[in-house]
């Protein structure tokens, strides 16, 4: 479909340039090196970071931010390492994901991927305890992803039955390892949890400033 020039947002590239990690967007000269080495493109041939960058430069804001492909990047940084123009492609894609989340909050787009839910649940445990708490993460993520507590528990069980049992039997979680009765089952908490709260608050405020 041809681009409708009157629907383009010439300011979109500046939005990206202003975010930490997005500073080098305009250096892209469309050589495709990023895409040729990408392990996701290898599996999903339509996945194309070069094209996403070009669309941003053109100002195709809604198309870019609602592109589900943003959420299948494995953040492996192969593209970043190989880009001859130092666009830092991996970080640029991370900027787009953050802008997409903001756009969703503003009601402009809808994100189908559960990845923002996962990342949020992960970071919630860090904010609360100072460290990742796998079980707390799963208890928040699955019900949100599935849309209800019961469906969430079911999905969690089917993903975790085998894995959880393995962790238990190997003594990595639970009493069998001799590392403490509740190893891995209860959250490992740091004392300075108030500092974690302050850090997350600062990050949120910084984001609003931009």
């Amino acid at each position: 479909m041809p681009i409708k020039t009157w629907e383009l947002d010439p300011n979109f590239k500046n939005e990206i340039l202003n975010e930490p990690g997005g500073e080098h967007l305009t250096a892209c000269y469309q050589c495709s090196t990023c895409t040729l080495g990408c392990p996701i493109t290898e599996l999903v041939p339509s996945y194309n970071p070069r094209k996403i960058i070009q669309m941003s430069l053109l100002g195709m804001r809604t198309e870019v931010l609602s592109n589900p492909d943003l959420w299948i990047c494995a953040i492996c940084q192969t593209c970043t390492a190989r880009c001859p123009q130092n666009v830092v492609v991996g970080d640029v894609l991370a900027v787009m994901r953050r802008l997409a989340e903001k756009a969703e909050e503003a009601g402009e787009i809808k994100i189908e991927s559960p990845r923002p839910l996962f990342e949020t649940a992960f970071l919630h445990t860090v904010e609360k305890y100072g460290r990742l708490y796998d079980i707390g993460l799963a208890m928040e993520y699955y019900p949100k992803r599935e849309g209800s507590f019961v469906a969430g528990q079911k999905a969690m069980m089917s993903d975790y039955m085998g894995f959880g049992m393995r962790m238990f039997l190997k003594g990595k979680m639970g009493p069998l390892g001799g590392h403490g009765l509740f190893k891995g089952l209860l959250a490992s908490k740091i004392k300075q949890r108030d500092v974690m709260k302050k850090i997350f608050k600062w990050v949120e405020e910084k984001e609003k400033e931009r």
Partner: protein
């Protein structure tokens, strides 16, 4: 030997899913006579889930500051933790304003940029050194190994400490202890899919499958690695991958510190070899 004491940042998986990496790291460094001082009250580095660089900088300013207060370089056995510590260190060192602003969040985040974050492979090979390690070896580990590096060791360039396309640090350690590196260059630095495991398991499984498949076809007895997320994907999830894709690998996955520990004569249980999900004790037959 140039290094006697280091601050040790174990990272979140060390407490559960990668317990064996933590155990073998401590045992190996004790044997090598390098003291590890655990970063007191360390916090999560943000892993792959903290996508806002400011969050990564602030979270790791705290970890770096704790190590700085005891005046020690900080070492981690996790590639993602290393990447986050190192990029936070770079950003904070370069930007006085950012340092001041982060210190403003809480005084415990005051970091002056006087220490260096290091990945365990870098410390072993470049700081302690192959000669020094060699002088302490008591056994030969005659296994065929597929050395798997994954991400954040050779890339991105701002934090890399090995070659982006053909890294060698782990290869060198494997040769040193009497092992054989099987041809594996096509997979050495491919992503394991770990970051997609919880949201696109189908893609993650396919990425891991390629790595396991290549190692198997190259005749490897095991895959060696140096990152707990790769360990989670290739070891802990291997039975799930086998089931979902209807394949059989039964490929032992070991941390490089576990292999090195065996060559240093450390007891297998102290290296956590009973904790690897895919039976890793098979390789003991090849330790002479």
């Amino acid at each position: 030997m140039s290094v006697e004491k280091l601050a040790y940042y174990p990272g979140c998986p060390s407490e559960a899913t990668a317990l064996e990496q933590h155990m073998s790291t401590e045992a190996v460094f004790e044997k090598l006579g390098v003291e590890l001082v655990e970063v007191e009250e360390w916090n999560c580095c943000g892993a792959a889930e903290a996508e806002d660089p400011n969050l990564v900088y602030a979270l790791n300013a705290r970890n770096l500051a704790i190590a700085e207060r005891v005046n020690l370089d900080i070492m981690t056995p996790c590639s993602i933790c290393y990447y986050n510590l190192a990029r936070a260190n770079n950003a904070l060192k370069a930007d006085e304003e950012l340092r001041a602003e982060i210190k403003g969040i809480d005084p415990s985040l005051e970091y002056n940029g006087t220490i260096t974050p290091k990945h365990i492979l870098d410390v072993l090979v470049n700081d302690i050194g192959l000669e020094e390690i060699k002088s302490k070896l008591v056994k030969k580990v005659e296994v065929k190994v597929a050395p798997y590096y994954g991400c954040y060791i050779g890339r991105p360039p701002e934090t890399a400490f090995d070659d982006p396309d053909d890294p060698v640090l782990m290869d060198q350690l494997i040769e040193l202890i009497g092992g054989e590196n099987v041809p594996f260059s096509t997979m050495k630095t491919k992503c394991c899919g770990g970051p997609l495991m919880m949201t696109r398991a189908d893609l993650a499984f396919e990425m891991a499958r390629k790595i396991l498949d290549t190692a198997k076809n190259a005749g490897a007895d095991c895959i060696a690695l140096a990152c707990p997320l790769c360990g989670m994907m290739l070891d802990a999830k291997q039975p799930d991958i086998e089931k979902a894709l209807n394949v059989k690998f039964e490929m032992p996955i070991v941390y490089i510190t576990q292999l090195l520990g065996l060559a240093l004569g450390i007891e297998p249980n102290k290296l956590g070899l009973q904790k690897n999900v895919v039976g890793a004790k098979k390789i003991l037959e090849k330790v002479v």
